[in-house]
């Protein structure tokens, strides 16, 4: 049993479009990842990517697998009495990548695991670190600026600029320390 040329072209087009959805990201070339993620700018990027190698062997394999798988399925459906077009529509529907497919389910599990492991205490700790370091930095910077600038008399005589610079620099140092603390907490949670 063989299919018409038109159906073969449709099968090929469907397989090319759908097979890549089933492939895990790790198996895709950078170009394929870009193409998949590009959304609205897909066509634009595709035109540019055509200058380079556009499909990996893995993607072509998956595409060929789907062509054969779909053809076998369609032959069975036609043996049951469906027309070529009906068989194609049914196979297309059954083989279309869905959000509850294996890969997507895996992704959902990872999301669920991520959110399950999120603890409000972590966020609270991060916030407190930022605030603590910011206050410490501002206080230390301001004091250093105030004393370094000549103390109270100099401050009142227009030397407040040193204090202000100290406050700003101290604040920046405090926020920097907050970033480090955030990174440490994130890495600890990951491990």
């Amino acid at each position: 049993m063989s299919f018409s040329r038109e159906t073969m072209e449709k099968i090929g087009k469907f397989a090319k479009e759908q097979a890549q959805h089933y492939l895990d990201e790790a198996e895709m070339t950078y170009m394929e990842k870009l193409r998949r993620k590009s959304g609205q700018t897909k066509d634009k990027i595709r035109a540019k990517l055509e200058k380079f190698k556009s499909r990996s062997q893995t993607a072509l394999d998956a595409q060929n697998d789907m062509i054969l798988y779909m053809s076998d399925y369609m032959k069975d459906l036609m043996a049951e009495g469906l027309s070529e077009q009906e068989a194609f529509e049914r196979a297309k529907e059954d083989l279309k990548f869905r959000s509850d497919s294996a890969m997507s389910a895996n992704l959902q599990e990872r999301f669920a695991s991520y959110y399950e492991s999120l603890s409000p205490a972590d966020h609270e700790a991060v916030g407190l670190f930022y605030a603590g370091f910011l206050f410490l930095g501002v206080a230390a910077g301001g004091l250093a600026g105030f004393l370094g600038g000549g103390g109270r008399e100099a401050f009142l005589a227009g030397g407040w600029i040193e204090t202000l610079i100290g406050v700003v620099v101290g604040g920046a140092v405090g926020i920097g320390c907050g970033f480090f603390s955030n990174a440490v907490i994130a890495l600890k949670r990951r491990s």
Binding site: Y22, D24, A62, D65, I67, Y73, D94, L95, A102, A105
Partner: protein, 114 residues
Amino acid sequence: MIFLDKFSEMLKGVLEGMVLEIISRGEIYGYEIAKRLHAMGFEGLAEATVYALLLRLEKNKLVHITRKPSEMGPPRKFYTLNERGMEELASFWARWDFLNERIQTLRNSGGKGI
């Protein structure tokens, strides 16, 4: 099987082992695996599920693949289990036996015999 939709979640956990067992019995291609499952009564199993599973087995290097010419154009992939696949299958049956035994005990005695 009329209640297939009721245990599709349960099936997800064992389908890989089932397919590995089918492949372990001899060289076989993708759609033939789906047909074998259908013949066993898993008619409601989505075609896409088996296709996606085979891609995963290949990615996880559990199968050996031989390509043979097909009448449709692209070469057809035939799967056999490699050593890693054999180990995974043995591990699957060990887990299955463990679970089956406990579930049966639970069913028979409500877990009091453990």
